[in-house]
């Protein structure tokens, strides 16, 4: 993903360009040298060969994409577009194999008996027609036809969604949300200021209280029907604090996630390409 590029320094673009080209060619030579050193394709054959070529290719693409960190460059753009195309092609094949061939081609054209064919026609004619209509979407003038295909889908999704989100996101969550304080109160030890009391009475109670207050405050922060008076402002302030802390948690975890991906790539380069393991 690109970052702003500083304007090419006006004074010596050509000089800079030639330096870059020089460095690039050196890097290319090093890359192939190392690759052949680590897994020499000439000594291999069959699956081992294809695997080693693949690894070299994969490593190459990886490095090319990282070259973007220096600055946006043609090699990166090539890799990026290639990736888009490959993804598309792979997806197409998968959809054919997993969906169209299974659900359309096989039942209809490979029906074992006339009875089976009848069944297939009975259950699949309508959806297949709708599917064809759906494809109409790509035509400028006929695209409205596709509505007959996806409107039922959209409607069905919406309808099913309502009762399910009521159940999962509202009722289940409420049920879970109102319980903890009671549990904490009921199970906590009663002799105060002992370690046990802190461990299994004070902290649980404090914690569940905090959760309750936070949840309510956050809900209130997103409550738009009343002008916030001094109290309201206070509550929504608390709400925003809770939000911010939770955003912080998300933030920390996002950093972790991105770094993990980087680690994954480096592991690939070190273990599979350079075979350091």
């Amino acid at each position: 993903m690109p970052e702003p590029q500083p304007q090419p320094t006006p004074e010596t673009p050509s000089a800079r360009r030639s330096i870059e080209l020089g460095v690039l060619s050196v890097l290319l030579i090093v890359f192939f040298f190392v690759s052949f050193l680590r897994h020499n394709p000439f000594s291999l054959s069959g699956e081992a060969l294809s695997r080693s070529i693949g690894t070299i290719l994969g490593a190459g693409l990886t490095l090319v994409i990282y070259s973007f960190l220096y600055r946006d460059n043609p090699l990166f753009k090539v890799a990026e577009n290639l990736y888009v195309g490959v993804t598309l092609g792979y997806g197409a094949i998968m959809t054919w194999r997993m969906a169209l061939r299974e659900e359309v081609y096989r039942p209809l054209l490979l029906a074992p008996t006339s009875e089976a064919l009848g069944q297939a026609l009975l259950h699949r004619t309508v959806p297949i027609l709708l599917g064809v209509l759906l494809v109409m979407r790509i035509s400028r003038k006929r695209s409205w036809l596709s509505r007959y295909a996806y409107c039922p889908l959209v409607g069905w999704g919406a309808g099913v969604g309502i009762s399910l989100s009521v159940h999962t996101y509202v009722l289940q969550q409420l049920h879970a949300a109102i319980a903890p304080l009671q549990q904490a109160v009921q199970n906590g030890s009663l002799d105060p200021l002992t370690w046990g009391w802190f461990a299994n009475a004070f902290f649980p109670v404090a914690g569940s209280l905090a959760v309750l207050i936070g949840t309510v405050a956050v809900l209130f922060y997103f409550f738009f029907s009343v002008e916030h008076g001094p109290v309201g402002r206070g509550v929504s302030k608390v709400g925003i604090w809770f939000l911010m802390v939770s955003f912080g948690a998300s933030f920390g975890n996002t950093v972790m996630a991105r770094l993990s991906l980087l680690i994954g790539r480096v592991q690939f380069l070190l273990d599979d390409w350079l075979k350091l393991k």
Binding site: M98, Q173, N253, M256, S260, L261, I263, L270
Partner: protein, 286 residues
């Protein structure tokens, strides 16, 4: 106030310096093969591990690998560890995916895990008996609903085209309702879709492995018990490996992870110290 080119170049330079630091922070520990000292598994990873561990041999466990190469680095180690655990405890993993571009990843780790675990069983792992790879079917949530009604209807054949109807591995499994545990590994809405359209409707225990990005959003479901446990990011994978006492990619990554985190923290602190100082001395209005 427009930024003079010199300033811009300085920015570009600082950026490149930071890139180099990050690269170093990640590469060096991996290249030197440093691993962190002993560390304790986080509670929710532990919960999931215990849940899997508690299942008697022969239990069928559905693993849904709903991730694609983009997040493979975080989720694939989890998948490997989970499969290893299943095979070690003689559970029968049923593996599926809801993401077309994840099919071959899933297929790969299932195969590898099956082959790797041959010694545990003393015989060759056979698809359809010791495990099933169902592959991918389109239909999104409707597929889950379908599986809740009739699993073998939703997957008439497994990935290899074998009919599921009378597979030993699927004996008297009619629908999701007959499965004691479902685990989803996902980097997307699938984790929640599995709760909404799966766990809450068909009452199976549900655990998940998610990318760290999503981790924090899952806590409401953990607290409500809608999830029995969760592996959160690469650390989750590392936790599971530690619990399995079989270190692998997840754990090996932890040292780099640690160093890189420290680096980022230092960067934030340094920059903000400077910022606060400037602000106090009134040199930056903002």
């Amino acid at each position: 106030m427009a930024i003079p080119p010199s300033e811009l170049r300085r920015l570009a330079i600082t950026r490149h310096v930071i890139y180099v630091l990050v690269a170093a922070a990640v590469v060096v520990p991996l290249a030197l093969g440093l691993t962190p000292g002993k560390f304790e598994a986080t509670p929710y990873s532990h919960k999931l591990f215990d849940k899997v561990n508690s299942l008697p041999p022969g239990t069928r466990v559905l693993l849904s690998f709903d991730f694609d190469p983009g997040t493979e680095a975080e989720l694939l180690p989890m998948g490997a560890a989970l499969l290893r655990h299943c095979f070690r405890n003689r559970l029968v993993p049923l593996v599926m995916t809801n993401i077309p571009s994840g099919v071959d990843l899933a297929r790969k780790i299932v195969k590898e895990a099956a082959d790797r675990s041959e010694p545990d069983w003393g015989r060759k792992q056979t698809s359809g008996v010791d495990y099933v790879f169902l592959g991918y079917r389109p239909g999104d949530v409707n597929l889950l609903l379908n599986m809740g009604e009739n699993l073998k209807g939703a997957f008439q054949n497994d990935y290899y085209g074998k009919p599921t109807e009378d597979m030993p591995a699927l004996k008297d499994i009619r629908s999701l309702k007959d499965l004691p545990l479902v685990i989803d590994l996902a980097a997307s809405a699938w984790v929640e879709l599995w709760i909404v359209y799966g766990a809450d409707r068909f009452n199976f225990a549900y655990g998940a492995g998610v990318t760290a990005v999503m981790g924090p959003d899952m806590y409401p479901f953990l607290q409500s018990g809608q999830m029995v446990g969760m592996l959160n990011g690469l650390r989750g994978a590392a936790d599971y490996e530690v619990l399995l006492e079989k270190l692998d990619r997840g754990t090996f990554g932890m040292m780099s992870q640690s160093v890189a985190h420290v680096l980022v923290i230092v960067l934030v602190l340094a920059a903000n110290a400077r910022f606060v100082y400037r602000r106090l001395t009134g040199r930056e209005k903002d």
